[in-house]
């Protein structure tokens, strides 16, 4: 070992509290350390240069940098090593700023000792580091887009225009999604299908896009870069290439009348039909729920396009990335029984009123009261139907309904200037570009806005009225209306369960698909290589869906552009000889990256998330986490406890994502806490093998802290539950064997709770001081 230790002053940030010269001297005495140096600012150009020079002159083979948090500069120093010709993984950063000098300002002596201990732990670890190699794996550059709505269309076109081949899979007979069914869209009141149809046609005609309608994804295997996907395409019973879309010829002779799904039941069509006039592909299909087999459509078709022999086809494709744009479904308004939807014919939903206003709809653009077929004189809109409503389990806001109702009200007024329109709302949400101005214009057009919840719709054969509260007057009122429109909210698609299981996607409590980070990663899913855009991840307006569609395309391009993928060397690895085939790891890995092959466990290292939960569960330690091996961790424990420099001594396992970051935050916020902890960074609390905890106690640690992300917010989704289960079990074991279980403390803490971390440290130290050093409780018992 030829180790170089560099201690950064960081100006006065470190040097003010810690005696850096003494540190340097102590470090130089450690085994394997060839040189030990102080530098003012390690991250500066000169600091970096001096490391490179030293490496070359002294033939150093590994480098310790004792400075700020690795979260800040680890990549910087990895690059320095690479520049100097060393493997970038032969670097150990020791945090003596955020987690030492900044938080122990009133105890410089102990802070220095802690820093020295931390460096000792660093040296112990670095001695065991492997020069890890980044592996490169060839990948497929094709992309699968699931869902042909506006988000999927945007993603596909961006990808296709960039030269990537796209498979678009849509379960309906036409693409266009919900946007193709809208009439006009806010805030410009553009005709929805007019702006969408050219894009739909582009998708159909694009040489780089394979459009598969009436198709669903039935199986997904493999992982990022190399997904093997099975697609089931249901028969349309019409040859889409031959069908001219004349539809009247076959539709007129079909004897079976069915409700039109795309008109939400307000319109009729035939069993053979064109779903919307602008359908892409422009071909009819036979609805096989209702066709009776009369055989007339085949006779009527002049293009000989009807083919009863078509069968379901299974396609096998290989793609490198998957984009999920499955959209949303509408809240079922029958669930709000107080509004009478489904019972009173004159209570309709916002989508139904869209279809009425739409020139291609059942009434060709006229608003008619369903029971009388007359033009309504008074119309009411009720907002927040099925949204912001705990009773139907939808506490969230569906974002677009306020604007949508205002838009429909404006359009109705333009067509029928004498109609009186009232919008009953709880809050008006008009938060986008030019939305507030739209709201003001709605008011100036004469649309009434009444704030207050509508209690119920009261109706009989002839009359319909609403009983509602007007909060501004403080009155309960009842008003008769000809037509009531329910602004129903968005819900996750009914297929979401199946899609979740197919792709291993997780869902939020509102049942939409979860994205990797609500702020910083809005289009990434938790699964490598799978991206989400549009309403699949939550209610949003068309502009945002389009933006997300492009964003996922960019992400896919970023992933696939090099044509190969670099494996993260931090993956799990099974030492096959030692594996006893118990299969515990297979169940523990919730990402399903471990399989049994010939009775031995095997990890898909390319897509392994590297949480370490499997490694901690292995009874024979046959799974190692590269760069976070059991040996490295044990070495750190030994180094920390070799000379018990402080009482009480706490070994703290902090997870890379939340608790370590949280401790850093305490540092940047200068929140002071006791010096008693010696930190070992792991990727996840799930990495902590119960045997580490026992080892720490055995070596003399008085307390062990295992801290991970808050339950339900783990970076690896489930692994902190594994950790909790193990530590809970360990608590019991400790109690049973007579060791005070309070010596093992678990904390589930988010990266933003710096204050809480400091308090936790304080209270832990207090507790340990009270109960005495490790083992003292046994001696007391036996006395």
């Amino acid at each position: 070992m030829r180790i170089g230790v560099y201690i950064c002053h960081c100006g006065l940030n470190i040097a003010h509290v810690i005696n850096v010269e003494s540190l340097r001297d102590k470090a130089s005495e450690l085994d394997g350390v060839l040189l030990s140096k102080n530098i003012q600012f390690m991250c500066s150009d000169s600091g970096q240069e001096s490391i490179i020079e030293d490496i070359k002159e002294n033939d150093l083979d590994r480098v310790i940098v004792a400075a700020c948090s690795p979260h800040l500069h680890e990549p910087t120093f990895r690059r320095v090593l690479k520049k100097a010709g060393l493997n970038p993984y032969m670097l150990e950063m020791v945090n003596i700023r955020e987690q030492c000098s900044w938080v122990h300002m009133d105890n410089p002596q102990m802070a220095t000792q802690k820093a020295s201990d931390l460096i000792k732990m660093g040296v112990a670890r670095i001695n065991l580091l492997d020069p890890l190699q980044i592996k490169k794996v060839p990948i497929t550059k094709d992309v699968l887009v699931i869902g042909g709505g506006v988000a999927g269309i945007e993603a596909s076109l961006t990808l296709a225009n960039s030269g990537y081949h796209v498979y678009m899979v849509e379960k309906e007979p036409t693409i266009g999604g919900k946007m193709a069914l809208l009439n006009e869209v806010f805030p410009t009141n553009d005709c929805s299908i007019c702006v969408l149809a050219p894009k739909m046609t582009d998708v159909h005609n694009h040489e780089n896009i394979d459009l598969l309608t009436m198709a669903e994804v039935s199986e997904v295997e493999g992982s990022v870069g190399n997904f093997q996907v099975k697609i089931a395409q249901h028969p349309r019973y019409v040859d889409a290439d031959k069908c001219k879309g004349c539809v009247e010829l076959c539709g007129d002779v079909c004897p079976v009348e069915i409700p039109s799904r795309f008109d939400f039941g307000l319109g009729k069509t035939k069993a053979i039909n064109l779903p919307i006039p602008q359908a892409v592909p422009q071909s009819v299909y036979i609805d096989n729920d209702f066709c009776v087999g009369c055989g007339l459509c085949k006779q009527a078709c002049p293009a000989d396009a009807v083919n009863y022999e078509q069968k379901e086809e299974i396609l096998d494709i290989k793609v490198g990335a998957i984009i999920v744009t499955t959209g949303y479904s509408h809240f079922d308004a029958t669930r709000k029984t107080e509004y009478g939807y489904g019972v009173c014919p004159d209570v309709i939903t916002n989508m139904e009123v869209e279809r009425l206003i739409n020139a291609s709809g059942p009434t060709k653009g006229r608003i008619l009261v369903p029971s009388t077929k007359a033009v309504p004189k008074k119309i009411a809109f009720i907002q927040c139907v099925g949204s912001r409503d705990e009773k139907v389990d939808n506490p969230y806001c569906s974002k677009v309904c306020c604007m949508s109702s205002m838009k429909n009200a404006q359009l109705i007024l333009e067509r029928y200037p004498d109609v009186e329109i009232t919008i009953h709302y709880i809050d008006i949400r008009a938060s986008g570009e030019m939305y507030e101005e739209y709201y003001i214009r709605s008011q100036s057009m004469g649309i009434n806005f009444i704030r207050g919840k509508v209690a119920e719709a009261v109706f009989d054969d002839k009359n319909l009225s609403l009983r509602y509260e007007d909060t501004l007057n403080g009155e309960i009122c009842e008003e008769a209306y000809d037509l009531v429109v329910l602004a129903t909210g968005m819900e996750a698609v009914p297929d979401a369960d199946r899609l979740s299981r197919l792709l291993n996607l997780s869902r939020r409590s509102d049942r939409f698909f979860a994205i990797a980070h609500p702020k910083m990663r809005p289009v990434d899913s938790h699964i490598s290589g799978v991206y989400i855009a549009g309403c699949a991840s939550g209610p949003k307006e068309i502009q945002v869906s389009i933006a997300q569609g492009s964003a996922t395309a960019a992400k896919a391009i970023q992933l696939l552009s090099k044509g190969e993928l670099e494996t993260d060397p931090l993956s799990a690895h099974v030492k096959t000889d030692e594996c006893i085939g118990c299969g515990i790891c297979v169940d523990v890995c919730k990402f399903k990256k471990i399989t049994m092959v010939d009775k031995k466990a095997e990890v898909d290292e390319l897509s392994c998330m590297a949480c370490g939960a499997c490694s901690a569960s292995c009874p024979v330690d046959a799974i190692t986490m590269r760069n976070s091996t059991d040996e490295q961790i044990i070495a750190q424990i030994h180094a920390a406890t070799e000379q018990k420099s402080q009482y009480p001594l706490i070994i703290a396992f902090l997870c890379n994502w939340c608790s370590y970051t949280c401790a850093d935050l305490a540092g940047t916020s200068r929140i002071q806490y006791p010096t008693n902890s010696r930190v070992i960074k792991v990727m996840c609390a799930g990495r902590v093998d119960p045997s580490f905890v026992l080892e720490a106690f055995e070596r003399g640690a008085d307390g062990v802290l295992v801290a991970g992300c808050r339950l339900g917010e783990c970076h690896y989704i489930f692994a902190n539950y594994n950790a909790k289960q193990r530590m809970d079990a360990l608590h019991e074991v400790l109690e049973d064997i007579g060791i005070d279980p309070g010596r093992l403390r678990t904390e589930w803490i988010s990266a933003a709770e710096g204050e809480r971390f400091a308090n936790s440290m304080e209270s832990f130290v207090e507790y340990l001081e009270e109960i005495g050093p490790i083992g003292s409780e046994i001696r007391e018992d036996s006395e």
Binding site: E248, P302, K364
Partner: protein, 433 residues
């Protein structure tokens, strides 16, 4: 539709004709004809067709009155709604509905039908019993063996004796087929005693004691003392079931002494008499179930008002519709049908088959559809062209001719492009002066 499309379009017309007891519904296109023939006299009012019809085009009439004498068709059809899908014809248990078609239609194999048969196995001789027993006259037997006259022509001079062992004779009727000397006497057939014959007589004037009948009889029930002339033939013949008449009533299977009949009925099910209501039954006055039952299984026993021969039941349910007193309950538990091939109509046919058991049919719900009158096209009115004195335009043109050369002058153009208001006015005044 434009003109071209109108030429290409298919016209579908439907009409109805009545021929005796047959209602013949037709669907005619340029490329095909479908005939749906409904024989209302065959119909028993079981209303299975009503259950399977995908568009509710069929309706059951007043079966209680019809079964006790009212001459009216049990089923009425709304021709507007009929899709000519042929579900009624495929699943009518008595073949009252029959569909024939000509033209471009999917093959029959693409549609499911009942998996039900009546077949005679190798034990069948054949003999005359089932043909005579069948209440629907659906069995035809053609005997192909040589008759007695062809083997041993009548010789009046022969003497001898002939005796029939009534214990052994099962009235199979082969001897009567073979030789004219035998007389088979028919009897009334009842559900409990379906056998068609109960007496076999020999007309000794016509018998010449050739002994051939003794050799022929499969039960060895004939004893002849006489001179054997020739050799008795092997019993052989062809038996055919008329599928348009057979209702799977099972009489042939029950009456066959040789266990030669294999039957698979179209339905599995259950029929029970509701004892509480049997008291109310008036079999002499009403007789409804007797009249409609295609299996002829109803009878009046000695000890009760009414009874059934359950073996015959095909679970069609006609009796239930005919009965004014709810005397019986019929339940179908299973439909035996051929495999439903993959096709656009498989779902509807599967639902039709299920409906025969559950009575629940999946209909498209168009109740919410709004049908609006199309708005009338606006009438175009030609505009009135204004009348203006052309002299005005002439005067204006003369003045305009002064301005036009100005614009051709480059210096002037430069002035108006770049100079300020005052300079431009000065320049214009200068040039127009």
């Amino acid at each position: 539709m434009n003109e071209d499309e109108q030429d290409e379009s298919l016209t579908v017309t439907k009409d109805m004709d009545i021929d005796g007891s047959h209602f013949i519904y037709r669907q005619i296109t340029e490329k095909s004809v479908k005939f749906l023939d409904y024989d209302y006299k065959r119909c028993v009012g079981c209303d299975i067709c009503v259950a399977v019809c995908p568009t509710k085009a069929l309706e059951l009439g007043p079966m209680q009155e019809i079964s006790t004498g009212l001459d009216a068709p049990p089923i009425t059809m709304d021709l507007e709604k009929c899709t000519f899908c042929s579900m009624c014809a495929s699943f009518c248990p008595v073949h009252a509905f029959v569909m024939t078609e000509e033209g471009d239609f999917p093959e029959d194999e693409k549609f499911p039908e009942f998996d039900s048969y009546v077949k005679m196995n190798e034990k069948c001789l054949p003999c005359s019993i089932c043909k005579a027993s069948c209440p629907e006259e659906a069995i035809e037997v053609e005997f192909t063996f040589k008759k007695k006259e062809d083997i041993a022509p009548f010789d009046e001079n022969q003497k001898g004796e002939i005796e029939i062992d009534t214990e052994k004779c099962n009235f199979c009727g082969l001897c009567a087929e073979f030789c004219d000397a035998f007389l088979l006497i028919e009897k009334d057939k009842t559900p409990t005693d379906p056998a068609p014959f109960d007496l076999l007589l020999v007309d000794e004037d016509k018998c010449d004691y050739c002994v051939l009948c003794q050799d022929l009889c499969p039960e060895e029930a004939i004893k002849v003392q006489g001179e054997r002339r020739g050799e008795a033939p092997e019993i052989e013949g062809n038996l055919t079931i008329d599928e348009s008449k057979c209702t799977r009533c099972t009489w042939c299977q029950v009456v066959c002494p040789y266990d030669a009949v294999d039957i698979k009925k179209p339905f599995e099910g259950e029929i029970v008499l509701i004892d509480a209501n049997v008291d109310q039954c008036d079999p002499q006055g009403c007789h409804g179930c007797f009249n409609v039952c295609p299996s002829h299984l109803w009878y009046v026993p000695e000890d009760r008002k009414i009874a059934i021969k359950e073996d015959y039941c095909t679970y069609c349910g006609a009796c239930v519709n005919a009965c004014p007193k709810d005397v019986m309950r019929v339940v179908r538990t299973q439909v035996n049908h051929t495999k439903i091939p993959d096709s656009p109509w498989a779902s509807q046919w599967r639902d039709a088959i299920d409906a025969m058991v559950t009575s629940q049919r999946k209909f498209p719900n168009i109740s919410r559809a709004i049908e609006a009158e199309p708005e009338p096209a606006k009438e175009h009115v030609e505009v009135e062209v204004p009348e203006i004195d052309p002299a005005y335009l002439e005067a204006a043109r003369k003045r305009l001719d002064k301005a036009k050369p100005l614009l051709l002058n480059a210096k002037f153009r430069k002035v108006i492009e770049s100079e300020g208001q005052e300079k431009v006015s000065k320049e214009i005044k200068k040039r127009l002066a």
